[in-house]
Amino acid sequence: MNSPFTQVGEKVIVNGKITDIEYQICTRCCQDATIPNIKFDESGECNYCHFHDMMTEIFPNGEKGKQILSKLFAEVKKKGKAKKYDCVAGISGGRDSIYLLYFLVKIWGLRPLAVHFNDGFDNPVAGENMVNACRILGVELRTITSDWREAKQLKIDFLKASTPDLNMGTDIGIASSLYGVAAKENIKYVFIGQSFRTEGIKPLSWAFFDGDYLRNVHQQFSDLPLRKWKPFDPGFHLGVKELFYYTVIKGIYTYTPLYYWDYIRPEAQRIIENELEWVYPGAHYFDDLYHSLIKYVHRVKFNIDMNMNSDAALVRSGFLSREEALKRAHSIYQIEDPKVIDLCIKRLGITRNELNEWMALPPKTFIDYPTMYNWIRPFRWLIKIASHFNFVPKVAYYKYFVLNKDVK
């Protein structure tokens, strides 16, 4: 295993900051003390493993999962009966989302509208995958494109903000475009191709998702105004108000159906390669070329290994041996390709020196900026009670206030 803390003696670096935390590796998965807010029990098992177990109970797969999906999709079909589409399926051209499309159409007989958000860094291979999959499955593709002037600026804003959330613009853009299309087409269900069993559970400070956070960071680091929110053209706006509009007023539900499915990645890959002419983009996350730069900044500035986090999920689910996961933890991931990193720098219209300057800024997290989290945190007891009565998903409460209790 590549040591994550050789340069500062035996100190563990978490989110780019030197800590007094004692180095330790989970005895069950492969995550180590560089994961923010990781805690280990007496047997050395980490709290992320406990959370995983909790989620497997809440989101069962196997026969029980099939029953849940069957009920859900029957409802989806019923509501979509007089409409052109049953649901929206978000796609990126990567394995999970293309399999989701296959799964919805071929296995469950749904009529999705595929929606893709183009933010200027699409991997051309992933682009061809989307086109091929939609053509073969007979699914209509709707592409929502960002305004590059905004998209580029948001990427630069987050480099300057010095937090790990370097792709916040794209993440918000994806979600808002799915909601925007669903609202426009009067579709009530949005499906996303993710599974915690293969993807992992991200620490909050690595993947904090909040439109208000984006807006505040943008205001702080840029003079370029973002275009105004419109229900069918939301752009980069998905704060509390907009979420309220889409979920409560428009009644749009978002699901991750693969949570309930025996989703085995190699098997899914074989199916989409054979049936949908899918081509592996070269690496996980590489449907978006910007991940080359993200990986580099994460590793060098923050000592973040996002792959260790998803490998941990694969170990827990029995898809990867712990030995193999430990061997590749903290190694340089293949998508850190200097040529693609140069492409990202050139495309953003910045210089290597500017990037280096921003890399040298003191590391921060979302906690250092005004976000939704700051004002919901004092009400966590209320949210706990609400989650007890299922008004708020238990998973959300646990993720925000238990797993990441001491988020910094």
């Binding site: 183009n118 051309p124 086109v131 494109t145 580029k152 495309r347």
Partner: protein
């Protein structure tokens, strides 16, 4: 004549990646026994990408040689657009290469958009060339604008049986697959030209998100076009992130009228030429 309409993904400022994709497309067209492939405008750096001003090449030069070798290797005519450096000037240029790998026609774009002025100079001539496939005229993108259609008319009057037009058609970022962005802008002028002169007009556009330059906030979404006197013969797919190769069998018109006969023939068809 078998034409390959090569709607190529062009990434701004990335000539190596773009040329490699073009190579694969040419190879694919040759494998399907195409006589000629038409590729987009300024496919090296992308249209009005700032890097073209400092990294562009002469014609002949590194990039055009690359395509000349491919034309010879795959025994296929290639028509494409490149950014051209010529002494102290830059041009938006299209070339036609024969199967011996020779550049047989070079056209520099005339009807430049205002935003192009800092990037390219105005071209100074129009040309057609005799080939084994027929008489071919070449122009570029906005040379076929409705208000610049006299350029196409001139090519037709020079005997062009087919006009090839490497293009980089753009739309605003918010246009989606449910919109029809091109009818008035491209389909109508193409149809007018094709029906008046009984010729074929073909245009292959780039696809891709515009990163850099004055057109940031726009994108190219494909829908390349081949039109003859009867209407649309082929259309590329609407797509902004993946290439598309359409193969079209074309019948070249044997209309032999020339010179003032053209005007007389048009009058017979009902066209009026009021001064």
């Amino acid at each position: 004549m078998k034409l390959a309409l090569g709607q190529l993904l062009v990434e701004g400022g990335e000539p190596q990646r773009n040329l490699e994709r073009a190579r694969r497309m040419i190879q694919k067209a040759a494998a399907q026994s195409c006589d000629i492939i038409l590729l987009p405008e300024t496919l090296d750096f992308a249209w009005t990408h700032p890097s073209a001003l400092v990294e562009n090449q002469t014609i002949p030069g590194v990039f055009s040689d690359f395509f000349c070798h491919l034309a010879k290797e795959f025994k296929i005519f290639i028509c494409l657009g490149l950014s051209e450096k010529a002494e102290d000037k830059n041009y938006n240029t299209a070339i036609l290469i024969n199967t011996d790998g020779e550049i047989i026609l070079k056209h520099r774009k005339i009807n430049l958009l205002e935003v192009e002025f800092p990037f390219y100079e105005v071209g100074q001539k129009l040309e057609v060339v005799d080939t084994i496939l027929g008489k071919i005229g070449v122009n570029i993108c906005a040379d076929n604008y409705g208000d610049a259609l006299h350029l196409g008319h001139a090519l037709a009057r020079m005997g062009a049986q087919i006009i090839l037009s490497p293009s980089s058609w753009t739309v605003d970022y918010h246009v989606t697959e449910i919109d029809e962005p091109y009818y008035d802008k491209w389909v109508k002028p193409f149809q007018l030209l094709a029906s008046m002169h009984e010729i074929i007009v073909a245009s292959a556009t780039s696809v891709g998100y515009i990163v850099g330059g004055p057109y940031e906030g726009k994108k190219s979404i494909g829908k390349s076009l081949v039109v003859d006197k009867n209407g649309i013969l082929a259309e590329g797919v609407f797509n902004e992130f993946a290439g598309d190769l359409q193969i079209v069998e074309l019948e070249i018109s044997k209309n032999n009228i020339k010179g003032t006969q053209i005007g007389q023939s048009l009058k017979k068809k009902g066209y009026r030429f009021d001064l």
